[in-house]
Symmetry: C2
Subunit: 527 residues, 2 copies
Amino acid sequence: MAKNETLAALKIIPLGGLHEIGKNTCVFEYDDEIILLDAGLAFPTDGMHGVNIVLPDMTYIRENRHKIKGMIVTHGHEDHIGGIAFHLKQFDIPVIYGPRLALAMLEGKLEEAGVRERTELRSVLPRDVMRIGKHFFVEYIRNTHSIADSFTVAIHTPVGLIIHTGDFKFDHTPVDGEHFDLQRLAEHGEKGVLCLMSDSTNSEVPGFTPSERSVYPNLDRVFSQATGRLFVTTFASSVHRINMVLQLAQKYKRVVGVVGRSMLNLIAHARNLGYIKCDDNLLLPLQSVRNVPDENVLILTTGSQGEPMSAMTRIANQEHPHIRIRQGDTVVFSANPIPGNTIAVVTVIDKLMMQGANVIYGRDKGIHVSGHGCQEDQKLMIALTKPKFFLPVHGEHRMLVKHSQTAQSMGIPAENMVIIQNGNIVELTEESIRVAGKVASGLELVDTSGSGMVSAKVLQERQRMAEEGIVTIAMALDWNGKLIAKPEIHLRGVVTSIERSLLQKWVQQRIEEILSVRWSEFAPSFD
Amino acid sequence: MAKNETLAALKIIPLGGLHEIGKNTCVFEYDDEIILLDAGLAFPTDGMHGVNIVLPDMTYIRENRHKIKGMIVTHGHEDHIGGIAFHLKQFDIPVIYGPRLALAMLEGKLEEAGVRERTELRSVLPRDVMRIGKHFFVEYIRNTHSIADSFTVAIHTPVGLIIHTGDFKFDHTPVDGEHFDLQRLAEHGEKGVLCLMSDSTNSEVPGFTPSERSVYPNLDRVFSQATGRLFVTTFASSVHRINMVLQLAQKYKRVVGVVGRSMLNLIAHARNLGYIKCDDNLLLPLQSVRNVPDENVLILTTGSQGEPMSAMTRIANQEHPHIRIRQGDTVVFSANPIPGNTIAVVTVIDKLMMQGANVIYGRDKGIHVSGHGCQEDQKLMIALTKPKFFLPVHGEHRMLVKHSQTAQSMGIPAENMVIIQNGNIVELTEESIRVAGKVASGLELVDTSGSGMVSAKVLQERQRMAEEGIVTIAMALDWNGKLIAKPEIHLRGVVTSIERSLLQKWVQQRIEEILSVRWSEFAPSFD
Ligand SMILES: [Zn+2]
Ligand SMILES: [Zn+2]
Ligand SMILES: [Zn+2]
Ligand SMILES: [Zn+2]
């Protein structure tokens, strides 16, 4: 077969989601067509001063915007949909397919950002198959995860079938009764999967991730023992957890006040779509909750990660406009701290305890489980799909390495997988998988003020000023380069033990020295 | 008995070490005498820009410096001795008693800071009893911890005997063969202990802390499997761990190059005092190590916490002047990340792996154990000493609470213990324990530049500039309040999408508006 008859390779280019958890964004490119899979955001790490949101470098997409045929959304988590509104300000996406819950949440974001008209949102149901462009057919396969309405996708491409797991664990007793569609996975495994791209979040953790439902009896025990008000905090997006908390509130005759905009939002959408079921009169506005006896009150809030502006943190800091902790309150942290948030979370816990709350937290309480599968879940995924090639995604480098070792332990040869970094171009053919280059990768940082992007230079300036402070000197000169008044010295963020008047004197001396020697050099520039 | 015949109360005032781990500093005051127990430092947390070292607020000590009769040091960790050099710049301490290893390390610090003459260092041996002032007798009781030469102290005071555990775990198979002096603890328990002040670090963790020796077989397995160079990183102060690593190096015929000043320092002191035993020719300068075949090389380094300037981090960043990672290297993290350091540590691990190293890390490897006792160790301490009153120390608030619950589970009544905060004055008599007020507490922040203390105002300015950047405008006016040149605008760390010429125009307009309206108000101030 002559070379020009060979089938072209499919390009897979993850722009985010590797060497970090967050901002999952992946390009599938064939011929002159691109489809995108998810477009998430991440949150700033230490040293990213004044940065609100972190996005992947989208240079490659901007330059190839004319190729974009559409986007596939797997589920409604911020690390999968949080970047879309930002990207739509820069380029159109003809169509975005996604689960109903994810699209309901996305629609609000797009409207807020004023970019709702830049795309078309089309919701999907399990086993729907969408044609995107000439080359791609995408099938939605129901999976189980911490948010409801989550999907694995099977992407039929000219080189073969790719299964992208999305975020998943195998939860055989899902809270909403929506089971993982193992049959479809197995059927694809039987027919032949060219490549599996699989969630690596918990690849370092042995065993199976417990079912979300395993949390229920432990939360039930906490509810049964609480005598005063009960506070529960969890991720705003943990639909199943929130669902169970509401069921328990009903059981223990507590009305529920929800605090935190993102959680109110999610509950509204999830109830609309039937993923959360509860009586209308269970949920009360916060003002009305105040008139209910303590033992009949549940406050459900955001802030499980100690986020500085969240409701729970403001309550702990005694800065919340409506809520103060009282002796006898019980506060439940139904979420583990994400690495990097630990100090913030325990500080909040300590403050709540100092104000008299009984705080229930920690891994040994059984009040939180992960939404991502561990090593045995990952093995089951590989066993069901029997892929020829394997591409671990959604994780930091060492997680990808560990995941690839798991795959090798199941008989997939090491040469049939690649460990990649953001921006790598993976070329996939019927016969091979390889890294064939690199596009621009890195970060785009959105400023807290919302007024633009924080460049590397601006960030460096901020870091420097944060470390050392800044000295400004204002001076007035005559045409002969003589000071005509004392220079004004301002220190901001500067530590010095030198007395002010002495500092003034030194600076003035130094300025006069410089002027006397170098005025002739400076002067011409005033012409 | 008339009131003035009543025995005065003993005051215990912890200035640091509560609601954080670090900067342990405690005052014991009776009548006109003060003794200090330890004086440590802590490291800055997020948002403490340009801060190098965190110390407790020492106002109370400075104001009562004339009462100080001496200091007791329990062991050589930074959170127990790291503050002493700073304090000696402000007030003298007549005498400091401490273990030989701790004092050897302290002496270096005092010399470096130029305050060696401000105190007298006297080393102690197990069961030594020192009289300090008129009122205090202090007995040193050998304990087991992650650093060698560590002590629990029994403080005989006019109101009764106080046992302060220092940092401890019960390690019945100590690496250096120096056993915990359980007999002395039990004897005091038999005679009567008024109050136990006990290490709360691991009060949230069930069970016993494993012996340091349990790490040995796991490290041995790693050594036996390494084929190329071997890197081991741990805390610079973990004498026992370093001892075992050196023993294994000898066993596996690897010469050892030590990287990191603090570790070199500790090894020198510990070898001098016999706490580390190894052949002289085992340790080689880094230059000579380069000529040794890979399989005979061990590099022992600091940086187990991902500290930005540490050797291991610089190696990972490919910024170390002498060492580059090569395919085939094995790197062992024999330390768990302290909360708050997790992200830094895993980032270093990822970078090392990307450069081809086989990195051994994680809790499941058995290559690290804590130096602090867990719940069962804490119970054994209470069981041996049988205290009347209980005062949990060395821990964050929730750990103190948990520790107090452990004590209650053993029959100590809740009213016989207090949960305190830094700066609380605990009054202890033969009959009662209570919080009787508060002295100034909080933080003193040492600037990175070493030039002074970072005040709250300076910190706030730095935080603000880090978030938002700074705009400076220089303008030249004539005597009538008219601009005589275009104002000069400088942006540092500022994000804006406004074009430079437009910004210039806007600022100039605004200045002219203000001047035209308010010049008459400003003008007089130039007289
Ligand atoms: Zn997710
Ligand atoms: Zn995700
Ligand atoms: Zn300590
Ligand atoms: Zn210690």
